[in-house]
Amino acid sequence: MRFTLNVRRYDPEAESPAPYWREYTVDVPENATVLDCLIYVREYVDGTLAVRCSCRSAICGSCMMRVNGQARLACATKAKDMQEAGEAITVEPGGNMPVLKDLIVDMDVFWNKIRQVKPWLEPVQPAPEREYLVPNETILDLTVAMNCVMCGACVSDCTSLEVDKNFIGPAALAKAYRFVDDPRDEARQERLEELSDYGGVYDCTHCFFCVEVCPKDVAPLERIVEIRERAQSAGVENNAGTRHAKAFEGIIRDSGILDEPMLLLKSIGMNPVEQMKNVPGGVRLLRAGKLPLASGPFHHKIPGHGNVKRLFEKVEATQEA
């Protein structure tokens, strides 16, 4: 079957290096993956195309790139599924990481974030003579996070990382969950505190992209939410993120509508210095009409607020059940 690929190329050694697009037509079997197409190009059409790949079976995490605008493993993406009538399949390097050449990005950015979460077990001491005894259910839960192949697809497409380079990001947080959730780990409390800090679990904007693009169903966002829950139930509350979440819940419960100024105040806590730091941001929000001062600085309850309250009660009841 014939496929056309439009590949974003970049040669750092060119006289004036700049990305450009090049189109390739390949004849490959009908069930060929995008990676098969690229390998075909490299082997028989244009050997200068650089791409990382190894396993061809979605297990080594090498071949992450954007296909038709979304981060994917090229070896787990059927060309047929990407081909839309009359249009070329677009292939670009992953995002949020510097491009080194063609489809090869600098994964140091990725690994530095992984290193930030102390990605190794701190085993509970003293170690038993044999294995630690762990219920299989816990192992099954850990397996979800261990499924991560460190491909960087989630990091490539994370919206929060795009604006804030300090965010630890979805892959590293999913990795952190793998230790937080491990009963053999001794550093749980410390980890929860660090993960709740600046750049940690509260800097995720819930855009869901990581869940959507992860080829291994790690669902980083869900792991992030689980870390938050564990942190809160472990009493890790002295940080902007937890206060923000609590304030958010409290305000909605009380008034039925989000009250941004109140949220900001409650999130920062009763710390005048921190509060002052947020004044410029508040002014910008005001100018942009995002702070509803016309209706008074603080919201009143919305009509039908009783229903909101009942919703809360219902959710809480199911959680307890």
Partner: protein
């Protein structure tokens, strides 16, 4: 000047284990790898890792199954080390953080694997290798071991009688460097790409075999190439033996469980050489479905499939469009593993001073003529540790060698030559590799004979000749993957040559090596290892006796 007491080449399980254990001795250790460590092929191991973990399972039973599986070609002293050190190795890994699936008391659970009399395989769903590789890399990060990441060894440096460093290319910059080392440990994995198709990753190009061979270290039992019974026809991807461990059937075009005729006791769980031969016989005799037989799990519980075999379900869906819950999946024997490799002793030392090896690159030999499923991961860890420890002992107290600048220049010139060649009248590496792979599959696969092997020999010789004219499109430095592949193909051709020569030499059938012109095992003449050296006029063959401790060769039935 780059120099380390111990330099480990390869960051799969064997390499990282060697580096960790060497670093614990407090010497300067670095690890060098052509891909990021977690991209290494150890990732692909789905099924698990063997160890006699239960009280009523003495390690000697594991050893016996391994000896029998090897068709009595495995060295029994090495197998004793492998199996007796297995349980502590598993515990060490568990303490590092490997999660392992658990039984009812929270203890490590075991699953059944081929060629073994009882359940003995520890596993993590069907991502055992991946979890182990990632966890051992966690330990490497924790230890802060220096990693030359995305560096490619082009050759080993040998001065007088000892290996004393490597020449390697930093793929990011394209620069060649000399790295001096008192001891080098080759953990470069297998060479599936010498065959087409293969279950192996694209990086499995047997670099270490060729590089050791070129500096005079002999390769042992290279004719022993494992064909795995259940690979997908499309791309050679593997459907784990764990599936048969969980109870999957193999059926032919007539719907028969044909293993009844070949291994009435063990059925689908007979050892791999036996099952692959049975399948190939069914296929050759016309009871096939488009050159395949079927792997059938429909009778298994849906949850078992979803929890324990999820990855192969994905593979079936992804590459064959088959949901194994609903339909049987076509499979066929496919090239999978090299039992042979760089000859080492049980301390990981090769025949050349300063050169050590472990993992699939090495041949101790614990697998002999046929490796049992889930014994390879064990091999990487047990012998990775030993190689790491003994390389330190060797390196301790000796000086770095003086290596003349001209040695680096040799490799520079070689590469310059390839880059300078004009693409129009040059040979494409991909075409050479494909021809090599298909030749090896056709003539040096499940069934072999003299005529076919001789034909393979002359084809490989012709390809080597054509390789002298290999050229590349990419003339740049940064990530020149075109050049990298051309260099790998050059190494692979040497590996192919060594395999064919060894297969021609062994005039009997044993384990994975089945000669239709010598269909029987011949213990009188061939209960010995083949040893291949690189000679001036091609491969030179010798033999080595097999070490037998407690298990006398017997007829092998399953």
């Amino acid at each position: 000047m780059l120099e380390h007491d111990v330099l480990v080449v390869g960051a799969g399980l064997a390499g990282m284990q060697a580096a960790l254990h060497a670093a614990r001795q407090g010497v300067s250790v670095a690890i060098l790898t052509k891909v990021h460590p977690v991209r290494s092929h150890s990732n692909a191991a789905q099924g698990g890792i063997n160890a006699a973990m239960e009280e009523d399972d003495p390690w000697e039973d594991h050893a016996y199954d391994t000896v029998k599986g090897s068709d009595y070609l495995g060295d029994q002293d090495a197998i004793e080390v492998l199996c007796s050190e297995a349980p502590e190795t598993i515990i060490e890994l568990e303490h590092m953080g490997v999660i392992f699936n658990r039984g009812s008391r929270g203890q490590i659970d075991l699953r059944a694997f081929g060629g073994q009399a009882r359940k003995r395989t520890c596993y993590v769903a069907d991502i055992t290798g991946q979890v182990m590789l990632h966890v051992i890399y966690e330990q490497l990060m924790k230890a802060g071991t220096q990693v030359y990441e995305e560096w490619f060894v082009t050759s080993l440096v040998r001065q007088n009688d000892a290996v004393c460093g490597v020449i390697a290319m930093d793929l990011r910059s394209g620069e060649l460097h000399l790295i001096k080392a008192k001891a080098v440990i080759l953990c470069t994995g297998g060479s599936g790409r010498v065959y087409e198709p293969s279950s192996n990753a694209l990086i499995c190009t047997g670099d270490g075999y060729a590089q050791a061979y070129r500096v005079g270290a002999p390769l042992m039992d290279m004719e022993m190439v494992q064909y795995h019974p259940t690979t997908l026809p499309g791309n050679g991807a593997l459907m784990t033996e764990g599936a048969r461990g969980e109870g999957a059937y193999l059926i032919n075009a007539n719907g028969e469980r044909f293993m009844e005729r070949y291994a009435p006791n063990m059925m689908e769980l007979a050892s791999r050489d036996v099952v692959s031969r049975a399948e190939q016989t069914e296929i050759n005799e016309g009871r096939d479905i488009n050159g395949c037989v079927l792997l059938d799990v429909r009778h298994l519980d849906r949850n078992t499939i979803l929890q324990k075999l999820s990855q192969i379900r994905e593979l079936g869906l992804e590459y064959e469009g088959v949901d194994i819950i609903e339909e049987p999946c076509p499979v066929r024997p496919g090239m999978h593993y090299m039992m042979g490799g760089i000859k080492t002793d049980i301390e990981g030392a090769t025949f050349v001073k300063g050169l050590y090896s472990a993992g699939e690159a090495a041949c101790v030999s614990v697998h002999g003529g046929n490796r049992l499923g889930a014994n390879s991961l064990l091999d990487t860890l047990v012998y990775g540790k030993r190689a790491g420890t003994s390389a330190v002992l060797y390196a301790d107290g000796i000086p770095f060698a003086d290596v003349p600048e001209s040695r680096l220049q040799e490799d520079r010139e070689h590469i310059k030559g390839i880059l300078a060649r004009n693409g129009e009248n040059g040979e494409r590496a991909a075409a050479l590799r494909l021809a090599m792979g298909q030749t090896m599959h056709q003539h040096v696969g499940v069934f072999r004979d003299q005529a076919g092997l001789e034909e393979a020999q002359s084809i490989i010789a012709a390809l080597k000749e054509r390789y002298r004219n290999v050229s590349v499109d990419d003339k740049g430095k940064v990530f020149n993957t075109d050049l990298l592949f051309a260099l790998e193909v050059g190494l692979m051709l040497d590996v192919a040559e060594a395999i064919v020569a060894s297969a021609l030499f062994r005039a009997e059938s044993r384990g994975a090596h089945y000669r239709t012109d010598f269909p029987d095992r011949n213990d009188d003449d061939w209960l010995k290892h083949t040893l291949v050296f690189s000679g001036d006029s091609g491969p030179r063959l010798e033999t080595l006796p097999v070490t037998i401790t407690q298990w006398q060769p017997a007829r092998r039935t399953y």
